[in-house]
Symmetry: C2
Subunit: 228 residues, 2 copies
């Protein structure tokens, strides 16, 4: 498949690497590819500069958002939640609507310090905001409730733990679920919560996720829904 990842941060990098390993033709979109590829400052999370990361991942094709391929099968929104609408606009609704949009961003707002609040929540969500802004795009929300290494390798956490999926387009959800399986999520741990309205709930898990992260001192955990 052809995968276009929006965003070049740690999340985008981890996803790109996995997509390449799985044999997908993988693109990464950024505002200014020449500038991004020249970036020497270490990534705050990984400690590695984008230039160095890309030097060891030359098969990942870095282009400007506007130049991402029209025949992309899955668009993956790995941009920061606050930037997502602007980034998606650069890609254009026309292009996005030909594939499936997997939105894994969270609308975290750090502008008032810690803990971050959500820029949108409760009676709305980032995923629904995107769906309203681009009505012809098939938006699927998933993978936003764990850190990116676990997203792409659920075996990092032992035993059962879940990934949530929601969206208003069943066919698009199936495409995303297939990708989740390919990445290593087992059938019973992929929880389809229904329509995109459920993204309110999964995005609202971020505050407690961040608190648990603070408590444990690591983001290397996930939630297991244990039934009685």
């Amino acid at each position: 498949m052809k995968i276009s990842i929006l965003g070049t941060g740690m999340v985008g990098q981890v996803i790109a690497e996995k997509m390449m390993q799985l044999g997908h033709v993988t693109f990464m979109g950024t505002r200014n590819a020449a500038e991004t590829i020249a970036r020497q400052e270490p990534n705050r999370m990984t400690g590695i500069s984008f230039a160095d990361w890309h030097a060891s991942h030359t098969d990942v094709q870095l282009v400007n958002f506007e130049d991402l391929p029209t025949d992309t099968d899955i668009w993956i929104n790995a941009s920061s939640g606050q930037a997502s609408l602007e980034v998606l606009k650069k890609v254009t609704e026309k292009k996005l609507s030909k594939g499936v949009l997997l939105d894994l961003a969270n609308p975290l707002n750090f502008s008032n310090g810690m803990p971050p609040s959500l820029a949108v929540c409760n009676t709305d969500s980032l995923a629904e905001t995107i769906q309203r802004a681009f009505p012809s795009v098939k938006v699927v929300k998933s993978l936003n409730t764990m850190n990116c290494t676990i997203m792409m390798d659920p075996s990092l956490v032992p035993g059962d733990h879940q990934v949530f999926v929601c969206g208003d387009h069943d066919g698009a959800k199936r495409v995303v679920v297939d990708l989740l399986r390919e990445v290593g999520w087992i059938e019973g741990n992929i929880l389809d919560l229904g329509g995109l309205v459920a993204a309110r709930g999964t995005e609202m898990m971020l505050p407690v996720w961040l608190q648990i992260y603070g408590k444990l001192g690591t983001g290397n955990f996930n939630f297991n829904v244990v039934r009685g």
Copy 2:
């Protein structure tokens, strides 16, 4: 200990029964005790009327909010989130501040239909609202992320799964943690998330809790934070 439960719904009933079993002197507060005790209509959740429930739990002392004992050790707010401030006002800050207030309510707002939204969230929480309204009260938030049968009997869910605790008063948190232990929560599954600000995160778990409830068709589950 002397326990005063605010609220006579299913949550209050399950807690009262457990507190009695543990040998605590247990009071239940309501607006109008005579009216509540005469209630013949079946509870929407349990199918049992309050009159019938109380007939088999006569040791639980039902009184008006205003008549709850001044020497209560733990006040348990099991009223609906929307009514909590008004209920607590009836008890009075003076009385509440002599013990510890365990707040397990959620600010669910069903007035716009399903799914319910939260009346307060994101940059505030019900627990913080209560703390601001009654500054001298030692508010501890806990037990609001699971159904009431699991609250009072965590063994209903197999293996590890957690209860969160937060609050600005360490001594009060210790009192609540002791009660949690007494109820059956093991030490390693009681997660202290710090100050009361963390209640934002735990109250914001409610939307996803409700979605999972809808998906599984049962509220008989809890979250286990699995570490990698």
